[in-house]
């Protein structure tokens, strides 16, 4: 650390700057690089998963509105791993089946139970969609400050070294400051994509959730109609 700004042959390459940095600054840089890796990991993951979710929603909606029997659809989907709308559909159908097969007495209670099941699934699904978006937000807001901290520490040590070396030529001052500024650069490099990605993915997640909510409402209306249709003859028969 004492050598900062002292050795005559300063390398001003990125690697040289990194290696010349002090311990704290190095730690900050490494942490910021890790944050950047994490950010881009989330970006890749979310891009892929949102694309998949959108495609699934599209295909499910297509199948759902194709006029296929709900029983059949349920039978094909129930033994599969489901997500998104299909998960909501399966949850609602499961609740329907359970209540109806055992002979539910109150149509209002059945409706409520189905809605609850769908809500739970919907919230679970949207949670999955929005998972790790929070860390993007954190990185986006905190990384510049972390980088700034690294810069401040780097410049501090650099100035201490300059005070020790008792000379102030720009050639002595410059490498230490450049190396310290590298920390801010890395912080910004991590923060900017994180902020952009967070904004984009939270908007996407909102859209997908809205679509699923819309489906859940529609399906709830369909099931409610079915309940009425199925329970009415029973009531009339009694």
């Amino acid at each position: 650390m004492e050598q900062v700004g002292l050795d005559a042959a300063h390398s001003v390459t990125l690697w040289g700057l990194f290696m010349q940095a002090g311990f704290v600054v190095k730690l900050v840089m490494l942490g910021l690089i890790a944050a950047s890796v994490w950010t881009w990991g989330i970006v890749v993951d979310k891009t892929v998963s949102y694309g998949k979710a959108r495609r699934q929603l599209d295909s499910f909606e297509q199948v759902f509105w194709s006029g296929q029997s709900l029983e059949e659809l349920y039978r094909t989907l129930s033994d599969r791993q489901t997500s998104g709308m299909s998960a909501i559909f399966v949850a609602a159908m499961r609740e329907w089946k359970k209540s109806f097969e055992r002979g539910a007495r109150s149509p209002i209670g059945l409706q409520m139970r189905i809605d609850r099941a769908m809500d739970v699934t919907l919230s679970r699904e949207s949670e999955t969609l929005e998972a790790r978006l929070g860390s993007l937000a954190t990185i986006g807001s905190a990384a510049p400050f972390v980088g700034l901290f690294g810069t401040v520490v780097g410049i501090m040590t650099s100035f201490q070294a300059i005070a020790g070396s008792k000379q102030t030529s720009l050639a002595v001052v410059a490498p230490g400051i450049a190396e310290a500024l590298l920390a801010t650069a890395i912080g910004l490099l991590a923060a900017i994509p994180a902020v952009i990605a967070y904004n984009k993915f939270s908007a996407d997640a909102g859209k997908l959730t809205a679509r699923m909510e819309g489906f859940a409402d529609e399906f709830s209306a369909i099931l409610s109609r079915q309940i009425d249709e199925k329970l009415q003859p029973r009531a009339a028969a009694q």
Binding site: S11, V12, T13, L14, W15, G16, I33, S36, V37, W38, T39, W40, G41, I42, V43, V44, D45, V48, R132
Partner: protein, 370 residues
């Protein structure tokens, strides 16, 4: 998530590698490679204290006198030359015999006879500037040497010098008196041979050069003047005259190649600043300036004086004042003159540098002395 993390890591590794390789080192600023301009501080002394040497010699670093031919007869000679006696002066070139018009004005000769008492001193004085062949400094040194031991000149310098000098300087080539004497001779004793006279003349003109000759001459002059008092025998003049050819130059033998540059070691001396300040300080100590004098700030005093080897002033110091009001100028110039007269003789001047302080110019700024 693992897959995407791996993807991200791979991406970062790629980008970082690319950055490390291609962003390696930013190009250094292209500082224009301006060649440093070498600056030598050359003092003006190198020009003002330049020494004269052999004009035909080739240019050399070190100034060296013309090589001598004879063996050294004097042990610790200091000045280079072919002389038998070590003399400070430069060797004088032999003058060609001149034709002398015998039909010179007779009144002048008469005048000479009439003023024979003050003649020798005057004569000597007029000769010096005319016959000096080389630098000014050398001439001044001679003048001082001559003035000191001469008992007759004692009375004359303050009265006659100021008047005699300008005349001599104005007409350096016309030396009336040395020619006058032979004319006297020719007038009165026509039997004397012309070429012999000419030789005598030239010899006389040259004798003014060296102190040794000077002494001889002075003796002779004394004799002459005593003779004038009693009886002037023109036939004996040629016997009295020193017929030895005058020659300057030292006795030290030089074997170096002649070079452009002076041979006199005494020519390049000058007073150091501290010596100048000592001189100035002696004057300032005796100078009482009336404080609060109007316009005294702008007055600049310049004192020119000639000093003998004891530090005493020869003649009157020339005090010139510039700037300020007329009254202030007069008052300060008078004060300066009084201060100079009070502080004489000046002490602390190195005798070996007499050439440099034989004539001194001292400038004063009265505003700095209040």
């Amino acid at each position: 998530m693992k897959g995407s993390l791996a993807t991200s890591s791979a991406l970062h590794a790629l980008v970082l590698t690319w950055a490390l390789v291609s962003l390696g080192s930013p190009e250094s600023f292209d500082v224009a490679d301006v060649e440093a301009l070498p600056v030598d501080i050359v003092s003006i002394e190198e020009l003002t204290q330049i020494q004269q040497g052999d004009k035909k010699a080739e240019l050399k670093e070190k100034a060296a006198p013309v090589p001598t031919k004879k063996e050294t007869p004097v042990e610790n000679a200091e000045n280079a030359g072919d002389n038998d006696v070590d003399l400070k002066n430069l060797p004088t070139p032999e003058e060609k015999p001149r034709d002398i018009e015998t039909a010179a004005a007779p009144e002048k000769a008469e005048k000479v006879v009439q003023t024979s008492d003050s003649k020798p001193a005057e004569e000597v004085k007029q000769e010096e500037p005319a016959s000096e062949p080389s630098t000014e400094v050398a001439a001044v040194a001679e003048a001082k040497q001559e003035v000191k031991p001469d008992p007759k000149a004692e009375a004359t310098p303050s009265e006659e010098k100021p008047t005699a000098d300008p005349e001599a300087e104005a007409l350096p080539d016309k030396i009336p008196l040395p020619e006058m004497k032979p004319k006297l001779e020719t007038k009165k004793s026509e039997t004397a041979e012309k070429p012999a006279e000419k030789k005598v003349e030239t010899a006389k003109a040259e004798t003014a050069k060296t102190p040794d000759r000077k002494k001889d001459e002075k003796k002779k002059q004394e004799k002459a003047s005593s003779m004038n008092e009693t009886e002037f025998n023109s036939d004996e003049i040629s016997a009295l005259l020193n017929k030895e050819k005058a020659a300057g130059g030292g006795a030290k033998r030089s074997k170096e190649q002649a070079a452009l540059g002076g041979k006199k070691t005494t020519a390049g001396t000058k007073l150091t600043m501290s010596e100048m300040d000592a001189l100035r300080g002696q004057i300032q100590n005796n100078w009482s300036i009336i404080p609060g004098m109007a316009d005294a700030q702008d007055v600049r005093i310049k004192v020119t004086m000639q000093l003998d080897q004891n530090g005493d002033i020869i003649g009157e110091p020339e005090v010139t004042a510039e700037g300020g009001s007329e009254a202030a100028r007069r008052a300060l110039a008078g004060g300066a003159r009084r201060a100079i007269m009070k502080s004489r003789p000046f002490k602390g001047l190195p005798p070996e540098k007499y050439d440099a302080w034989s004539e001194v110019v001292v400038n004063f700024d009265p505003s700095q002395m209040m």
